[in-house]
């Protein structure tokens, strides 16, 4: 690996920003898309990890000011490129994407007209940390725009100008989001219009967001691809020219235009793939298989995120866990070998001692000391109750200061420590480790943030900043005196996994855990494994699902670590992360069995919606897409001269507002199959939006090339279907001809959506949250796509939301990966910040039971509320709600919070 020089030592850098403040050079700020500038000494964005500065050597003039200003001595002008070698067992490529640069598309005027920005630029304009601090303004004159147009598919679905035939999958959603936020930020009325060919809001609950934008927020969705943008020089407004759905030329004026640019693979990643000898597809994304969604062409090398294919954040995070699962499986035997064990001295018992508090005040170079009178704060700290030692440091966080603090704690027999410096967000953990290293309980610690809350925000009033620092130190000292030693409980982990559902997702999760040596039990309600996949023939890429399924079932049933319980039913469930017990009625005899296990993976799946629409079940010639694939496989297509398909059956309607994601590609898959068997067959696909996201778009293009005809219809004006001897008569409107057409079809295929398996009973037994349409609800839509809110329970496959086979497999691996983070440990460490009940005060009023967002408190046999610390998330809602004040949250007990209130307001009255 080559490590490029940063010219500032990230270990020494404290992130104070003095270098950037004094740097005289202005450079283009890439992160804000050139909408403002930055210094040559810079940090890319405030959330960067590590929060350390670097010097842009191309912009640096070498004046030496930053070196003079840096008190941490972190500037290294002579920093050089280094090469490092690491020995690894597997590799994951997650190099991500780059936004398409629309400069070459001259008709859009990007780079020429200032008020034409990319979606990335607009994202920065909306951001509170962006170039305009979150005020929505046009770059030209910093005026609030009165109207904004988003143009979709810039650099995507475009084989004419840029060669990117694929759909970037994310732009429809982000355009809606940007429009919604713009509406929120601009208080005056702003007209937002999204120009699109198809709105592709296919993710979990995305359709509802789209409907909210359209119906509640008045965002306009225009079916058109604009062909020309011209600027009105006097106003900077932009004229948009486009042809509407009926082919009429239209013109509209907007104050601003946002180009929804697609995702592409940067050249550096292509180069990397070449060096690693990884196969890429024709668009430079990594080639992966239908059943091996994160494996590259080279064993041991995996990929995830957009390098694998265009996708959104939840999809990327899911794949990241999936790749980690396979990478970890390869090296499972060596697990834990390279871990360094830190020796921690035995803890001193200070419970009976009177508080002896040490206060360390930090100058943070000149970050604090330049404004706040640190010496006077230190002297003031010395006058506070129980304070027996005070000191000030240039950098309290430096390694030598840590060593000094350790000596002082021991020498002065300190039993409480306050550090008045920067934010606990970055430094609390480090100081707590220091306390632990000298035998002091790490919870006997408090920080006063006199940098971010004093010197940084009141730089023009040093007196006020100093006084406020004293207040904060007084509050911190008061609180630390009330703190108690806390201990993180360790609990053992049962290494068995219970998997509910034996479909493709459940079996993949089972195999990947079993291959790592963990015992697995699969509970399947049916006689046969395989679930919905039993009805599938091939994927759109042409991979044979039947063969795959047969092999998968074979592997699962012959694996020594996997036990399958068919025709079984879950009847009872209890326990917590690492220690669950499930009672199961095992078929066929339905005898009861109890299984102890450490984790649960939900893979209950979904089924095809059984249509009530369009004569299904009444006319034999009306079938679903799955039935059509089965038919094509068995009987071929010789007798099919004319086929009509209708999309969105049982999806995107009143009963089920969501999109089922898979039906557009099912229709196109079957259409292509018919065309292959019977090239002269006429195929009509009646759709609302074609949602062939990612590389599926290629199949849509191919279908159109082969003559498959696509007609858009509105949900208010659906096709009409009648039965007649000659065929199934389908009447629908053609938008371009602006008239009704009638087709007599040999077969009508209904693209019926997915419906979650009935899990109502299971959800109530295991206490699981579900969406309105019955899919399990993950802990966080974006950041925790496979974790359920209860620790130790994970979800994958179509039990989570409708998805394609490769996506189900990736999510199954992801769930296994998340489960491994529990199963690979002998013990789990629980948070010490949990709530507890004082039984003498508890009136069993049930308020805690009702208020806990996680349903943790229960009334025990003695009639008293009991909170399981293994289940408690530590939010403290119960403690605040408890009318008898019987509940306290560790580290945030009422007197610990009130001590700060009292100390702050001391002497006010």
């Amino acid at each position: 690996m080559v490590n490029h020089p940063r010219y500032i030592d990230p270990v020494k850098c404290t992130g104070c920003g003095e270098c950037a403040m004094h740097c005289p050079v202005a450079a283009i700020n890439e992160i804000n898309k050139g909408l403002d500038d930055r210094r040559a000494a810079y940090i890319e964005y405030p959330q960067a990890v590590p929060l350390a500065y670097a010097i842009d050597f191309d912009a640096c003039i070498g004046c030496g000011l930053c070196e003079n200003m840096c008190m941490a001595k972190a500037i290294k002008y002579d920093d050089t490129e280094r090469e490092t070698a690491v020995k690894v067992g597997s590799v994951i490529l997650s190099t991500g994407s780059q936004a398409y640069d629309p400069s070459d598309l001259d008709y859009l005027g990007y780079g020429k007209y200032p008020n034409v920005v990319t979606s990335e630029g607009f994202e920065r304009i909306l951001c509170a940390g962006g170039p305009y601090l979150g005020h929505v303004m046009r770059p030209l004159d910093r005026e609030e725009p009165k109207s904004i147009a988003w143009l979709q598919c810039i650099g995507s679905r475009d084989i004419n100008r840029c060669g990117n035939g694929y759909c970037s999958s994310v732009c429809c959603m982000y355009a809606i989001k940007e429009a919604m936020i713009a509406k929120e930020h601009i208080h005056a009325d702003v007209d937002c219009a999204i120009f699109n060919m198809d709105m592709r809001t296919f993710g979990k609950d995305y359709e509802k967001y789209f409907l909210r934008a359209r119906d509640n927020e008045d965002i306009r969705f225009v079916k058109a691809r604009a062909h020309t943008i011209t600027e009105i020089p006097e106003t900077g407004d932009l004229i948009l020219q486009y042809a509407d759905e009926a082919g009429q030329m239209k013109e509209e004026i907007f104050s601003m235009v946002v180009l929804s640019v697609g995702l592409k693979i940067p050249d550096s990643s292509v180069d990397l793939a070449r060096r690693l000898r990884i196969e890429l597809n024709k668009y430079n994304f990594v080639n992966t298989g239908s059943f091996t969604p994160v494996a590259t062409s080279r064993p041991g090398i995996y990929t995830c995120g957009v390098f694998q294919g265009p996708k959104d954040i939840p999809g990327s995070i899911t794949e990241a866990s999936a790749a980690a699962c396979l990478a970890g499986t390869d090296v499972a035997e060596a697990r834990g070998e390279d871990i360094e064990v830190i020796e921690i001295p035995e803890e001193m018992d200070v419970t009976k001692e009177e508080p002896r508090i040490g206060v360390f005040v930090c100058n943070c170079g000149i970050n604090i000391g330049g404004i706040v009178d640190v010496t006077s704060v230190q002297e003031y700290a010395g006058t506070l109750p129980y304070v027996v030692f005070t000191d000030q440091n240039l950098f309290t966080c430096s390694q030598d200061t840590q060593d000094k603090i350790k000596e002082i704690v021991i020498e002065h027999k300190l039993n409480r420590v306050v550090v008045a410096s920067c934010t606990p967000k970055t430094h609390e953990g480090m100081f707590m480790d220091t306390l632990e290293a000298c035998g002091l309980n790490k919870y006997l610690f408090e920080m006063a943030n006199i940098r971010n809350q004093c010197s940084w925000v009141h730089p023009n009033n040093p007196t006020a900043a100093t006084e406020k620092s004293k207040d904060l130190v007084r509050m911190a000292v008061a609180r630390v005196a009330t703190l108690k030693s806390l201990h993180e409980k360790k609990i053992p982990v049962n290494q068995r996994a219970l998997i509910i559902g034996g479909g493709v997702a459940g079996m993949n999760a089972a195999l990947s855990l079993a291959d790592q040596g963990f015992p697995v039990t699969i509970v399947e309600k049916e006689e046969k494994l395989g679930g919905m996949a039993n009805r599938l023939t091939t994927t759109i890429e042409g991979a044979d699902v039947e063969i795959y399924l047969e092999e998968l079932i074979q592997k699962v049933t012959s694996h020594p670590q996997v036990e399958v319980l068919p025709r079984s039913l879950i009847v009872n469930f209890s326990g917590f992360q690492g220690n669950f017990t499930t009672e199961i009625l095992v078929g066929p005899g339905m005898y009861e069995r109890k299984i102890d296990h450490g984790v649960v993976i939900l893979a209950t799946g979904a089924v095809e919606y059984r249509p009530k629409e369009f004569l299904y079940g009444q006319d034999q010639r009306v079938v679903t897409q799955i039935e059509l694939s089965e038919r094509l496989k068995e009987k071929g297509a010789q007798d099919l001269n004319r086929v009509v398909m209708i999309q969105c059956i049982g999806s995107r309607n009143k009963e089920n507002p969501n999109c089922s994601k898979v039906c557009c590609q099912s229709a196109i898959k079957n259409a292509l199959h018919i065309k292959k068997l019977q090239p002269d067959a006429q195929i009509f696909i009646l759709y609302r939006d074609i949602r062939t996201y990612g590389f599926l778009e290629d199949y849509y293009t191919e279908a159109r090339k082969l003559g498959v005809l696509f007609f858009r219809f509105n949900s208010e004006d659906p096709p009409v279907v009648e039965s007649s001897e000659a065929g199934v008569m389908v009447t629908f409107k053609d938008n371009i001809l602006d008239r009704s057409l009638r087709v007599s079809a040999d077969l009508l295929a209904l693209s019926s959506g997915m419906v979650a398996e009935d899990t109502e009973e299971l959800a109530s037994i295991v206490k699981l949250a579900r969406t309105e349409d019955g899919y399990f609800m993950e802990d966080h839509v974006k950041l925790k796509p496979v974790d359920m809110a209860t620790e130790g329970i994970f979800v994958c496959g179509t039990a989570h939301s409708p998805k394609l086979l490769p996506e189900s497999i990736a999510q199954a691996l992801a769930a296994a990966s998340r489960a491994t983070t529990y199963l690979s440990k002998d013990q789990l460490t629980l948070s010490a910040v949990t709530a507890w009940v004082n039984p003498e005060l508890c009136a069993s009023c049930l308020i805690c039971v009702r208020s806990c967002p996680y349903g943790v408190p229960v009334i025990n046999e003695d009639g008293i509320s009991e909170i399981d610390e293994a289940l408690c998330h530590g939010c403290g809602v119960c403690a605040a709600e408890c009318p008898a004040k019987a509940i306290e949250l560790n580290w945030y007990e009422d007197n610990q919070i009130l001590s700060k209130v009292d100390a702050l307001l001391e002497g006010v009255l």
Binding site: P424, C875, G876, Y892, L904, V908
Partner: protein, 116 residues
């Protein structure tokens, strides 16, 4: 970002606004605070699902109590923002400071003075 805001605002950290008790807010007023604001995550975005909704209800309850006892409900406020919205925090702080300055000091202070 180092955005400036009035220095009379002091922050007390809690794990979730759902932990902020009516009693905590009232204690501040009892001890002479001129105003209290509770700042939580955006509604619908609570890290602990629904803590900020409970906090809002409690602030509303405190406002009623303050109105009844003559301190004035306006002195207690609830604000919501996300962790990436520094400028909004500064704006809230300035807004709160202005509001309290308009209202004047906590009447408890005057009462105490009169009593003395």
């Amino acid at each position: 970002m180092r955005l400036q805001y009035p220095s009379d605002i002091k922050i007390i950290f809690v794990p979730c606004t759902g932990k902020v008790d009516v009693l905590h807010i009232l204690r501040a007023f009892e001890k002479g605070a001129d105003g209290v604001c509770v700042v939580g995550c955006l509604e619908g975005d609570c890290h602990f699902i629904s803590g900020n909704f409970r906090a809002r209800k409690r602030v509303e309850q405190v406002q009623k109590i303050l109105d009844t006892i003559g301190i004035g409900g306006e002195r207690a406020q609830m604000y919501n923002l996300s962790s990436g919205e520094g400028p909004r925090f500064a704006q809230f702080a300035i807004e709160m400071d202005e509001r309290i300055r308009k209202l004047g000091p906590n009447p408890m202070k005057l009462a105490k003075k009169k009593a003395a």
